[in-house]
């Protein structure tokens, strides 16, 4: 199948949507399909062979933060040309409600269009204002995919209608093997965390409080923290005597991230919510790390209601400490959770996800002549 994928965000800037599109495109190419991606990119960016640049994106305030978006006549023309020359069987647009290439592609194309919705938020003024204006572009979409229940709920609330759920994928084999980081576990006492240290929703504060509860009784307990943020601010929240038991790696490379997952006895995901999927969790599962996660709906689902990882009450440091202690004292249970996680995560491997997406393509292209340029508007 000849697939055209539209990425709304700058290709070379790391982000969840970009990573999703890269992995999907590569899984489809591996499966023998022809894939072309169009994305905003800097003039000097090095792009994979399957990516076409739509020009530079411009930083503009949108929906409460500054987003780099591509819009305007130049971008629209490049998308139009790409569609005209691509001869696609199906067009796959990501985040079509974001004012960037996605909505432009819906505007200039006609034929089978699939859209994937990634973001989730409670209420968005931008979305409420934009919904009627996006209407005619969004009405062209024949098949809608949401990557999580939260994203699906957002979609239903803001735009109406429904979507099929196809969660994000993880490239399991990329994480399966790894050498532990020097000086770290697993030695029976290492708890790991990965994520932005300064973003409250990631819940690091809850873990630090739990650590302060556990540290006095457990001299072997250590904390391994990886992710961008200010290290001093983190250490300030740890009682002085235990500060040397906290390891702060800062921002880590992809390779060190894999090693970090293999350096812990318990991997903790204390997120408070807002997580649409929990890609970090599936990475840790691929590495076979025993997991302790907050019981937000997304995590419950990924962990099979506790089958493939222990859960604790969201935002409750005492509950986290209690569960962590139980896990650290029970190597048998850790081994079992690790095995279960490695099994359960296959459901989220990109090969499985790409197969499901392909089924959506086949559904919408039933008896269709492919994607063509729309002479309107």
């Amino acid at each position: 199948m000849n697939v055209g994928i539209v990425c709304p965000y700058t290709w070379e800037v790391p982000g969840g949507v970009q990573a999703h599109i890269r992995d999907l495109a590569e899984a489809l190419i591996d499966d023998g399909h022809k894939v072309s991606v169009i994305a905003p990119a800097a003039d000097d960016a090095e792009l994979p062979a399957y990516v076409t640049s739509a020009g530079r994106a411009v930083p503009v305030p949108y929906n409460g933060s500054v987003a780099r978006l591509a819009f305007g006549f130049l971008s629209a023309n490049r998308v139009r040309k790409w569609i005209r020359e691509g001869g696609f069987d199906v067009l796959h647009v990501h985040e079509p409600a974001v004012p960037s290439l996605g909505v432009l592609a819906c505007w200039v194309a006609r034929g089978p269009i699939v859209a994937t919705f990634h973001a989730s938020y409670a209420r968005s003024r931008a979305m409420s204002v934009a919904a009627p204006m996006l209407q005619s572009a969004l009405e062209k979409i024949t098949g809608r995919i949401a990557v999580s229940d939260a994203a699906r709920k957002t979609l239903v609330e803001h735009l109406g209608g429904d979507a099929v759920l196809i969660p994000n994928g993880v490239t399991v084999r990329r994480y399966a093997e790894g050498e532990p980081l020097p000086g770290w576990g697993p030695d029976g006492g290492v708890i790991g965390f990965l994520g932005r240290m300064d973003e409250p929703r990631k819940g690091l504060a809850v873990l630090l409080e739990a650590f302060a509860l556990l540290a006095p009784e457990r001299p072997g307990l250590r904390l391994l923290i990886a992710g961008p943020g200010d290290p001093d601010e983190v250490l300030d929240r740890v009682p002085k005597p235990y500060r040397d038991r906290v390891g702060l790696l800062g921002m880590v490379s992809e390779a060190d991230k894999v090693r970090a997952y293999h350096s812990v006895d318990v991997f903790c995901a204390p997120n408070l919510g807002g997580e649409s999927f929990g890609i970090v969790l599936t990475e840790a599962m691929s590495a076979g790390a025993p997991i302790l996660a907050s019981d937000i709906p997304a995590f419950r689902r990924v962990l099979g209601e506790g089958q493939a990882g222990a859960l604790f009450t969201t935002g409750d440091p005492a509950a986290l400490a209690r569960e962590a202690a139980r896990l650290l004292d029970d190597p048998g249970r850790r081994a079992k959770l690790s095995d279960e996680a490695r099994q359960a995560v296959w459901k989220y491997d990109w090969s499985t996800v790409a197969r499901d997406v392909l089924r959506v393509y086949e559904t919408v292209t039933h008896a269709s002549a492919g994607v063509v340029e729309d002479s309107l508007p």
Binding site: E139, G143, G160, D162, V164, I166, R359, T363, H366, A367
Partner: protein, 179 residues
């Protein structure tokens, strides 16, 4: 004075006509999308029934299971428009009962043709879920558009009845569910 009034009136009439034709065009596009989605749903349902019949006739399953499955698939395939939703829901329930038997997957995998059939069944079941969602979305949008006063007053939709939602139980068997 009168010329101005006539001119203004003419402009209003032209603008109104442009607006009406734009709305009519939109309704037309929605109807095309609805028809495409309906054809896809129909194909997906027929495909599912066909795979079920093939599985039932493959001699891999025990005769009782084969019979149950074949009967449900046959009912779904031959049901009239009024009974179709019932028959398709029954097929979904039967499929769950059949596929969620203990060791069903392992049993099928032992057979040379089993794995391929299971894969086909998996795909067919997923496509029913997908195509029904997409169809119901299209039906919802079309209904809303048809109900607008302009569309009603000017009968932009012609004499077509509002599209019906296709309400069935299409929950896949647990061991097939992928998402």
């Amino acid at each position: 004075m009168t010329t101005t009034v006539i001119l203004v009136a003419a402009v209003v009439v032209v603008l109104f006509a442009v607006y009406v034709s734009w709305r009519a065009g939109r309704l037309d596009r929605l109807h095309i999308r609805l028809e495409t989605a309906q054809a896809a749903l129909d194909a997906a349902l027929l495909r599912r029934a066909a795979v079920c019949l093939e599985l039932a006739g493959s001699r891999i399953l025990d005769p009782a299971t084969s019979l149950v499955l074949a009967a449900a698939a046959h009912e779904a395939r031959t049901a009239g428009p009024d009974e179709r939703e019932h028959a398709e829901s029954d097929l979904s329930r039967t499929l769950r009962a059949v596929v969620d038997q203990e060791r069903f997957r392992e049993k099928l995998a032992e057979h040379p043709a089993g794995t391929a059939l299971l894969e086909e069944l998996d795909t067919a079941v997923a496509k029913v879920v997908y195509s029904r969602r997409f169809y119901n979305n299209a039906a919802g949008v079309t209904r809303t558009a048809q109900r607008r006063w302009l569309a009603r007053t000017l009968r932009l939709a012609g004499h077509t009845d509002p599209p019906r939602f296709f309400d069935i139980d299409d929950e896949p068997p647990e061991s097939l569910a992928t998402g």
